[in-house]
């Protein structure tokens, strides 16, 4: 069928809406693999629960009548001034100032999730942009940026973070920015490496020969191929950021009381844990569960996005299918 024939309408081009076949997008395939991974699904459920709890914290606080920053006048501390253990009134007990531990933990979840996600988001965006620019343009820009990335990556973050916060003063935004500053370099290094190899691909040359601008090539051609490792790294960066914030708050240089953060709750617990184990165990437990959940999910995402593991998933699907068929056959027998 020639083009002139089509254009002149002389021949029925057969272009009526035929059933258009959707392509097997690599993302859809990855999602399917992720759904198969039980550990990831459980982690995802835990995280969603946590997010919900964090979002609803003010409501829950109002509903139970326990604020996060003011101690319970009558039932916060006992006659000796010591906190109460878990009870019907205070599900996780009270802390050294009589505040309800459960509510404070929920508020702490807000801080951890907020800082974790926002710091990671900032680090990711900055890292991707720097990595793309550095890898794509090469030359002197790349030499300087690559060295800078190496330097930032090799320095002990905590000591510098402490120094920075000591000078700038602790606050929520300083914490977020400090964490982002020490994480963007890891992202940038990965993106740069990928970009360096991808820019030699023929489809990039093809785009250039079509007249595509640098920006278009970077964001339409290169970036979709870089997204997979970026997503994996970002999902593994979140728990790192959460731990980082907890550590900073623990030493007093992150979130300061009365705002509740799991880190400063633990620092507080140092005074009371010998008589009130719940002040230590509850925030520590939540911190641990959150970090493990994010780490498991991150691992699952990495496996899902790696086409090499598809064989393992396919074999498992086949095995499952065979097992179901056998059951049905047995049932009919």
């Amino acid at each position: 069928m020639s083009l002139t024939e089509i254009e002149s309408g002389a021949v029925d081009a057969g272009l009526e809406p035929k059933q258009e076949i959707a392509g097997k997008s690599p993302w859809l395939l990855a999602m399917r693999r992720l759904r198969q991974d039980k550990a990831s699904m459980i982690s995802l459920a835990v995280i969603i629960l946590l997010v919900l709890a964090a979002l609803l914290a003010p409501l829950i606080s109002k509903w139970t009548g326990h604020p996060f920053d003011i101690g319970d006048r009558r039932f916060g501390l006992d006659r000796d001034g010591l906190p109460y253990g878990p009870s019907g009134r205070h599900w996780f007990g009270t802390d050294s100032l009589g505040r309800d531990v459960f509510i404070r933990t929920l508020y702490g979840a807000r801080v951890s999730l907020l800082v974790g996600v926002v710091a990671t988001a900032i680090a990711t965006v900055a890292g991707v942009i720097v990595g793309l620019l550095s890898g794509y343009y090469g030359g002197p820009i790349d030499t300087v940026l690559a060295r800078f990335i190496d330097v930032v990556l090799s320095f002990p973050y905590l000591i510098f973070a402490i120094a920075l916060v000591a000078i700038l003063g602790p606050s929520l935004w300083v914490t977020i920015l400090v964490i982002a500053f020490f994480n963007w370099a890891a992202m940038a290094r990965i993106v740069r490496g990928q970009t360096l190899s991808l820019k030699e691909k023929e489809y990039v040359e093809a785009a250039r020969s079509l007249g595509g601008s640098d920006g278009r090539i970077m964001f339409v051609e290169i970036m979709p191929n870089v997204l997979a490792p970026v997503i994996v790294l970002a999902s593994l960066m979140i728990p790192i950021a959460i731990v980082f914030e907890a550590t900073l708050s623990y030493v007093g240089l992150g979130i300061v009381p009365p705002t509740a953060s799991w880190g400063n709750m633990l620092s507080d617990a140092l005074r009371t844990y010998q008589v009130a184990w719940w002040t230590l165990v509850v925030p520590a437990g939540f911190l641990l569960i959150t970090t493990v959940a994010f780490n498991l999910l991150g691992d699952g995402v990495r496996d899902a996005l790696d086409p090499r593991t598809e064989r393992i998933f396919a074999m498992k699907r086949k095995k499952d299918r065979k097992a179901v068929e056998k059951q049905e056959a047995d049932a009919r027998a």
Binding site: S2, L3, I6, L15, K24, G211
Partner: protein
């Protein structure tokens, strides 16, 4: 006749017929070294003074071994590499080293088809989007209209338009090359440079793609530069053929002339290396085996570049670079760069000392 002028035959041609004129183009890649600031220590002479023309509507074949500079030349013509010196004219206008913005309109007229069907398509994008790129980049069509045009293109190259949303991984090698062709055709270019478009395909598929390219040429009035390393593939599609060696043109002629009476010893060697299906004929023919490795383009030999490997080389060849002009009374348009071109009944095989003579059947 100096080398910097065009050949006598080309000088007489009317400009109207010529679509692309390449004048003494040189492309060198610098090799840099240094502790802090790198300075140039050597250069790769990828293309070292090439002049030729591409006429409207023809297919110009460009052959040579790996490293002879044909791909680099192709990229110079399409503006992907800036040239070190020389001039390139397209449709009468000078497009040498134009800044990107000024080159953009020409990119609608000059397109390229790449060698690797697996590498030339972005694996993470749908083919409809890939083929629609030219429309997007040049702001020609949008939305539903763009989709319609893309589907028309897909039909034109022999693909099913319903596969618009598929990913390149879901197509075979031959189909992917068709996608590449569709992408190149989108804006109705005048010139398509095909950089070894069938080298990576199975032989049976090669024929299909070549036929497709020929049909499209007839239908759409396209001009092709067809690059390959295999003379037999080029023979079928080309009107004229140019043979490149180490950055320069060794011989250029109309198809029948080149295959019938090749003048340059290198052309002869290439032709003799081609495979012949009939084993009896193949056993009887003469094999010209060249001695030595291809010299590196960083330090090309003085004089004629081919002289270290040439069976006919003499002192003059090491000193004086031969001009690309008609030899031995050939018609205008058949040019060879050789001081001692091969004559009609000459047998090069016999002149090689250290090498096995042709294998005559001994029975």
């Amino acid at each position: 006749m100096t080398d910097t002028d065009m050949t006598s035959a080309e000088a007489g041609r009317q400009d109207d017929d010529v679509l692309v004129r390449v004048e003494n183009v040189v492309k060198h890649f610098p090799i840099k070294q240094g502790i802090v600031f790198k300075s140039e220590v050597a250069r790769v002479h990828a293309v070292d003074g090439v002049s030729l023309e591409v006429r409207r509507g023809e297919t110009l074949g460009l052959v040579g071994e790996t490293g002879c500079g044909k791909s680099t030349l192709a990229r110079c013509i399409t503006g992907l590499h800036p040239v070190t010196s020389g001039r390139i004219t397209f449709d009468g206008q000078d497009i040498t080293n134009l800044p990107r913005a000024r080159m953009r309109p020409f990119r609608r007229d000059i397109q390229m088809i790449f060698q690797d069907p697996y590498g030339s398509l972005n694996p993470r994008r749908r083919v409809g989007s890939i083929i629609g790129d030219p429309f997007a980049i040049h702001g020609v069509a949008d939305g539903a209209e763009r989709k319609r045009k893309v589907q028309e293109l897909m039909e034109l190259v022999g693909l099913k338009p319903e596969h618009y949303n598929r990913f390149p991984a879901e197509f075979s090698g031959g189909q992917r090359q068709r996608i590449g062709v569709a992408r190149a055709l989108a804006l109705r270019p005048k010139l398509i440079v095909c950089d070894e478009p069938v080298s990576a395909l199975d032989v049976s598929i090669q024929a299909q793609i070549i036929n497709l390219l020929e049909d499209l040429q007839d239908e759409l009035g396209l001009t092709y530069v067809f690059i390959a390393h295999d003379l037999s593939v080029v023979r079928h599609v080309s009107d004229r053929v140019a043979v490149m060696y180490l950055g320069r043109i060794a011989e250029i002629a109309e198809g029948p002339d080149l295959y019938g009476s090749p003048r340059h010893p290198y052309t002869n060697a290439l032709l003799s290396a081609g495979s012949i299906a009939d084993p009896e004929v193949s056993a009887k023919r003469e094999r010209i085996i060249l001695v030595g490795d291809v010299p590196s383009p960083i330090n090309p030999p003085k004089g004629c570049r081919f002289h270290p490997r040439c069976p006919k080389a003499e002192e003059r060849c090491a000193e004086e670079e031969p001009a690309l002009v008609p030899r031995l009374g050939d018609p205008a348009g058949h040019d060879a760069a050789c001081h001692f071109p091969v004559e009609a009944n000459e047998h090069l095989g016999h002149k090689l000392g250290a090498v096995e003579p042709s294998s005559e059947p001994t029975s």
